[in-house]
């Protein structure tokens, strides 16, 4: 569109090369755009392909409903339910930690802070997201495990709560930045209108801005949840990894991610245990994919709502 139509034959050669270059660049950009989708599809296919043996020999339903996880016994027992429940427990605790803190912080940054404070806080939060999870894990081992043991007078500090608290802290940056975006996207007229009706800033925030941004905040929570459920290193170090059906969050749990990380190194490639770990990965992939999909749909709805 930007290239003018050719007027003279003399410029034809140059235009042809330019056109060719353009076509190449366009192809590359197309390819890059499709790359994400291709990679995602390839991951899904790869997971399914590798978990085929597990589904065939151990049985999908048996794995999903079994409660005994003894993969190295002979014959191995591959009951994934404790792992799934363990992941959900840890993630649940993480949500309890990250949602109130994250949303409150987003409200403060978006509605109440000055420009300088806002910029400083945003960069600090970005930095928080950049801290490697093993560092969070180390701090958790040194500080949180003894703390949880004493605070709740437990037999051991390696529990779902310990892992969940650290995961919650790790998810806070995700929740803050996406919630803040959602609040920022609420049109200024709404706030002004509310103020014109005599509402204070607090009233405006709680009765107008927050409800208006609710679906975006929901999406933020979902993405934070996705981050928490997929996190590996910190939970491996903090939850004790006992593959038992936990009665409460104050017990040790084994998560899906921790199981894959701890056991993948040791399995015989192509063996049944190897395949079962891929099946665990497939379950995890399905869960996170679902979470992200829901979050995306909700976000899209919010965008449409404020577009007009």
């Amino acid at each position: 569109m930007t290239t003018p139509p050719t007027h003279s034959g003399r410029r034809l050669g140059r235009t042809t090369t330019r056109r060719a270059a353009e076509a190449v660049v366009r192809a590359i950009i197309y390819l890059c755009g499709w790359m994400a989708i291709i990679i995602l599809a390839a991951i899904a296919v790869f997971l399914m392909w590798n978990s085929f043996r597990a589904v065939n020999e151990a049985g999908l339903f048996t794995m999903l409903s079994g409660t005994a996880w003894y993969p190295t016994s002979s014959p191995g027992k591959f009951g994934m339910l404790p792992l799934i429940v363990g992941s959900l427990y840890v993630t649940g605790v993480a949500l309890v930690v990250c949602v109130p803190v994250g949303v409150a912080a987003a409200v403060f940054i978006s509605e109440f802070s000055g420009r300088l404070v806002k910029e400083v806080m945003k960069s600090i939060i970005e930095f928080m997201a950049a801290v490697p999870s093993v560092v969070y894990g180390l701090i958790g081992v040194a500080v949180l495990i003894p703390f949880v043991k004493d605070a709740f007078s437990l037999m051991s500090g390696m529990t779902a709560v310990t892992g969940g608290i650290v995961l919650g802290i790790m998810s806070i940056p995700t929740v803050i930045s996406i919630s803040e975006d959602a609040l920022h996207a609420v049109p200024e007229e709404l706030r002004q209108g509310s103020a014109a009706l005599g509402n204070t800033r607090w009233q405006t925030t709680f009765k107008v801005t927050l409800p208006a941004a609710s679906s975006g905040i929901f999406a933020a929570v979902m993405l934070g949840l996705g981050r928490a459920i997929g996190e590996t290193m910190a939970v491996l170090m903090l939850t004790g990894n006992a593959a038992v059906m936990p009665a409460s969050v104050f017990e040790s749990v084994r998560t899906m991610t921790g199981t894959i990380a701890a056991e993948m190194g040791e399995v015989v490639q192509g063996g049944l245990h190897y395949s079962v770990l891929f099946a665990v990965g497939l379950v995890l992939f399905t869960i996170t994919f679902g979470i992200n999909l829901v979050a995306d749909l909700v976000l899209e709805r919010q965008r449409k709502r404020w577009r007009r």
């Binding site: 495990i145 043991k149 500090g157 491996l236 040791e266 490639q269």
Partner: protein, 296 residues
């Protein structure tokens, strides 16, 4: 790069050596094609090459000590040691990414079969003996457990310290995770081959994590290699014998095992030299220094 500078004259030397070797024994036998296989006993030929070793975390300390001492003596040799667990090491050997696998357990039939299907000939070498000590918090009054009691504790049949002569407190079971050779070995000798660890056992990703938790938790019980024993934890005697280097060496301590190195085929050249050195006086002295037990 630096490496290139090292390699070029080295290659030239090898070429020279191989020609000499050819000239020397052309009359007798068909000569091996690879010049690196020059017999190790030739003192004039300086050893060179790289050896990649991966495997057992239990053997990480001793492996590092071996490799450092060996590299000091043979500056042209580079030995790299990685941990990750016995299974990881054997898997890497089967994938052809390492020369030796450190393993604190026998190779499994499944792994052996995998190697055979790839046309490999996996050879086992015993390199040291390890004892597994049962540890508790120093505040714990229990001094002695029988193998039977220990088995019941780890199977989850005994869950309170008062049943084995301690205070009325639930037992916190600590174990390595299933990728560890120590996990397998402890299962075979203590828990029972056909039984399972109690589901409530916490599976920790490293030996150090077990030590840390036992130090911090007065109801904890764990098992670690002799080489990792510290004064912060208390060793529980098993069947009346306290885990120690002499007790593991004379076989009186019940939870002891061989440590292995596996290779694809009989090692040759620099690999053979390294293995011979480990099995020799210097290598076995390091075994003692690192808290393991030398081969008889």
């Amino acid at each position: 790069m630096n490496l290139k500078k090292l390699v070029a004259p080295g290659l030239a030397m090898l070429l020279l050596m191989s020609t000499v070797a050819f000239a020397g024994c052309a009359a007798e036998e068909p000569v091996t094609e690879t010049p690196a296989e020059t017999p190790a006993e030739e003192p004039a030929a300086e050893l060179e090459g790289t050896i990649d070793v991966q495997g057992s975390d239990t053997m990480l300390n001793i492996g590092t000590a071996w490799s450092e001492a060996f590299m000091d003596e043979n500056p042209m040799v580079e030995v790299s040691i990685q941990g990750g667990g016995s299974g990881t090491g054997i898997a890497a050997l089967l994938n052809g990414t390492v020369d030796f696998a450190h393993s604190s357990r026998d190779i499994k039939d499944e792994e052996m079969a995998d190697g055979e299907s790839k046309g490999m000939n996996i050879v086992e070498h015993q390199v040291a003996i390890d004892g597994i000590a049962v540890i508790v918090n120093p505040a714990n009054g229990v001094e002695d457990l029988t193998m039977d009691q220990l088995g019941q504790i780890y199977r989850g049949e005994i869950t309170n310290w008062k049943d084995v002569g301690g205070v009325d407190k639930p037992i916190v079971l600590l174990s390595r995770d299933s990728s560890s050779g120590t996990y397998e070995f402890f299962k075979e000798t203590v828990v029972g081959e056909d039984s399972e660890y109690a589901a409530a056992a916490k599976l920790l990703p490293s030996t150090q994590a077990i030590v840390d938790e036992v130090v911090a938790n007065d109801a904890g019980i764990g098992y670690i290699g002799l080489g990792y024993l510290t004064d912060e934890v208390k060793v529980v005697a098993v069947d009346g014998v306290k885990a120690s280097v002499p007790a593991a060496a004379d076989g009186s301590y019940p939870i002891s095992r061989y440590l292995y190195m596996y290779s694809d085929g009989e090692p040759a050249g620099v690999m053979a030299a390294y293995l011979d050195w480990i099995l020799g006086a210097e290598g076995q002295q390091l075994v003692v220094d690192e808290g393991f037990v030398p081969l008889p």
